[in-house]
């Protein structure tokens, strides 16, 4: 059974994919999640696959309800992405997708920090291929940045776990709290992958650069694994609440003015993560349930949104809002699915976002974090602005771009329809999801006051949008780059470093030349003395030899006699 644990099934699939043809590969990518699901359902709760390894006790499977819900959604996401990527004939993408999904799953199931670290790094390495698979120089550079940051997170985790091990003698991955250098390092490692403010920009940098299908896959795993890790290790750490609150707010502004729709979604992803982080930070059973549920729903609707934008990209060759518009005419199904996704992320009642976000909002309110609660409410309105309205509106409606792309291919439509259905089903029957959550909490999302409040918020926000559009205040979509924290390592750092390097080189050169001149003078001097015919090396005449002898004799005599 150890050899049939869910992550390994993905790895086996990846390995098989290396050697088979296109059709088989496609089936493997579909089949692996199915088998993994069976395997997951057959696993008993508790620890499994414990291995004595290099003097450490590794626990590769630690299944509890928290891990289960994340595992489940990862498997579903992998399956949906596989359908969506049916057309892909690229061994590298398929292999890395399977590896990536398997590793993310493994990370969620890992019971100790070392195996977590293993999977942590594999996700980094495997996922970057989804960016590189775009096969352009720019994608390569972006992928490199992404990988460096991801592995940077990995090495922080490694350092942290070693320090932690050194402190406590334990490598168990359990609740740690921010108590020491080690846990701080681990926290930072998680934070990078979770795209904490100022550590977030890899996400917006990399996800829009990935392939059409790659972005869908990417959006599901890495960050959610980090959320899971935070929930596991740092639940109730108060600082997370504030980090989360900031995370929900600031990306909204960037998303609002971003032109590339996939980048808009990346910012929106960041903002949604903020909700989850707040949930982790509050750390009550309700809040953690909210985090898990929100992660679950979010993976679905964010995949859906990326899928629909991806389908547009696939058919038109661009995902820039300024180039799009009016696509509803020829891509109606994509449009509807996109709207479902938009409604879900905006948390309209009867859509999945509503039933998960409410948990977190209520938890923050119940625990007295009023300011944070208010931030989340504002952020909810913001979500509507960029994901709920901007994505569908500028893609499918707005001014007619004149583009008349064909409807998305059949497999993409199937994938989107399934995902959209899931969003709606969960929205309508929340108990389906609730029973999977880690804690047994009776929670009713559909109370009158809840629905009313949410509808008021969203409708008036919509009203504001209409108002702003009519008045022409709403910013138009223009091409361009918006600076973000990646400016530091894409602009400032390279420029200053090269300037420093140049000046250091020139100083070093001056020194070197000086030293060389000095040394060569010395060597010339020595050479002059020592070469044949030089003072030291010429055949001394008898006179001088006798002189030296006399001198030495006198010296010896003098020393001895006086």
């Amino acid at each position: 059974m150890t050899w049939l644990i869910p992550p390994l099934i993905f790895f086996y699939g990846a390995f098989l994919c290396l050697f088979v043809g296109r059709t088989q590969r496609t089936f493997i990518t579909l089949l692996a999640p199915v088998i993994a699901l069976v395997s997951l359902l057959m696993l008993p709760m508790g620890n499994m696959a414990q291995v004595q390894f290099l003097g450490f006790e590794l626990i590769f499977i630690r299944l509890d309800k928290l891990a289960f819900v994340f595992s489940l959604i990862f498997i579903i996401a992998a399956f949906l992405a596989a359908i969506y990527a049916w057309h892909v004939n690229d061994k590298i993408q398929q292999v890395s997708t399977l590896l990536y999904a398997g590793a993310a799953l493994g990370g969620v199931l890992a019971g100790d920090l070392i195996s977590l670290f293993l999977y942590w790094e594999i996700t980094a390495v495997a996922s970057v291929f989804l960016i590189w698979a775009r096969r352009t120089p720019a994608a390569y550079a972006t992928g490199m940045r992404y990988l460096l940051i991801q592995v940077g997170s990995g090495v922080l985790l490694l350092a942290g776990l070693l320090v932690h091990y050194n402190d406590t003698g334990s490598i168990l991955f359990e609740h740690m709290g921010l108590v020491s250098t080690g846990t701080l390092l681990i926290f930072l490692a998680f934070g990078i992958k979770c795209a904490f403010p100022l550590m977030h920009n890899w996400l917006q940098d990399a996800y829009p650069a990935a392939t059409v299908t790659g972005t869908v896959v990417l959006s599901s795993f890495t960050t959610k694994m980090a959320v899971y890790a935070l929930a596991r290790g740092y639940a109730g750490e108060e600082i997370l609440i504030y980090i989360g609150a900031v995370m929900t707010l600031f990306p909204i502004f960037f998303a609002e003015i971003e032109n590339d729709l996939r980048k808009v979604l990346a910012y929106s992803l960041n903002n949604q993560l903020g909700f989850m982080v707040v949930g982790v930070g509050i750390g009550t059973e309700l809040a953690l349930n909210g985090t898990a549920a929100h992660a679950f729903c979010h993976i679905l609707y964010k995949s859906l949104l990326f899928m629909s934008v991806g389908a547009v990209l696939y058919r038109t060759g661009t995902s820039k809002a300024s180039e799009l518009g009016g696509l509803y005419k020829t891509m109606p199904i994509t449009m509807v699915c996109c709207l479902v996704g938009a409604a879900s992320i905006s948390a309209f009642p009867l859509f999945s976002g509503f039933i998960s976000k409410s948990l977190i909002l209520d938890a923050s309110a119940k625990n007295g974090y009023y300011l944070v609660w208010f931030a989340l409410v504002v952020a909810s309105a913001g979500v509507l602005s960029h994901s709920g309205i901007k994505i569908p509106y500028f893609t499918f409606f707005a001014h007619d771009s004149g583009k008349r792309p064909a409807e998305a291919p059949m497999h993409m439509r199937i994938a989107m329809i399934i995902t959209a259905s899931l969003c709606v089903i969960i929205g309508v029957f929340p108990s389906l999801l609730y029973q999977l959550l880690p804690y047994d909490v009776a929670y009713k999302p559909y109370t009158t006051s809840h629905v009313l409040a949410q509808m008021q918020l969203l409708c008036f926000a919509l009203l504001a949008f209409v108002f702003l559009m009519i008045k022409g205040i709403h910013p138009p979509e223009v091409r361009g780059i918006n600076l973000d924290s990646d400016w530091v390592y894409r602009k400032i750092l390279p420029t200053t470093l090269s300037a420093w390097a140049a000046s250091a080189m020139s100083v070093a050169n001056t020194w070197r030349i000086g030293l060389q001149t000095q040394a060569s003078e010395w060597i010339i001097g020595i050479r002059r003395l020592s070469s044949p015919g030089g003072l030291l090396a010429k055949g001394w005449g008898v006179n001088s030899m006798v002189f030296v002898v006399t001198l030495l004799l006198l010296l010896v005599l003098f020393l001895n006699l006086f």
């Binding site: 696939y314 058919r315 005419k329 006051s449 409040a453 205040i473 600076l483 894409r490």
Partner: protein, 117 residues
């Protein structure tokens, strides 16, 4: 209310969207909905946790102004941080087009625009 596709006339399910009347209608419906919701706030007592949340019209105001402020704030932000697409160099992912060899760009054949209306 139809567009021509592959030589056939196909009814576009959502073509109504572009008719100004429909848009006006939609706006009116939205406005009506908003009014309704605003009124409901008076009638229905919302269960609240947060001080002030129960205030009359709390969510309506929050929704409207939050949205407006976000848009205005973003506009301001754009004036600060917007740069040319080639800011990070010609070969940055922001400025390049997605390689078409990996896509399947299909356009529907020419559309008779006049029939749209």
């Amino acid at each position: 209310m139809a567009i021509v596709m592959n030589g056939k006339k196909i009814t576009a399910a959502f073509a109504w969207v572009e008719s100004p009347t429909a848009v006006h209608m939609a706006i009116k419906i939205l406005a009506g909905l908003c009014a309704l919701l605003f009124l409901l706030d008076i009638i229905i007592h919302r269960h609240t946790y947060v001080p002030g949340e129960g205030m009359w019209g709390f969510y309506t105001f929050t929704g409207f102004f939050a949205f407006t402020l976000i848009v205005l704030g973003a506009k301001q932000l754009r004036s600060w941080i917007l740069r040319d697409e080639n800011y990070y160099g010609e070969q940055s992912v922001d400025s390049e087009e997605y390689p078409t060899s990996q896509l399947d760009i299909q356009n529907e054949p020419a559309v008779d625009r006049e029939n749209d209306q």
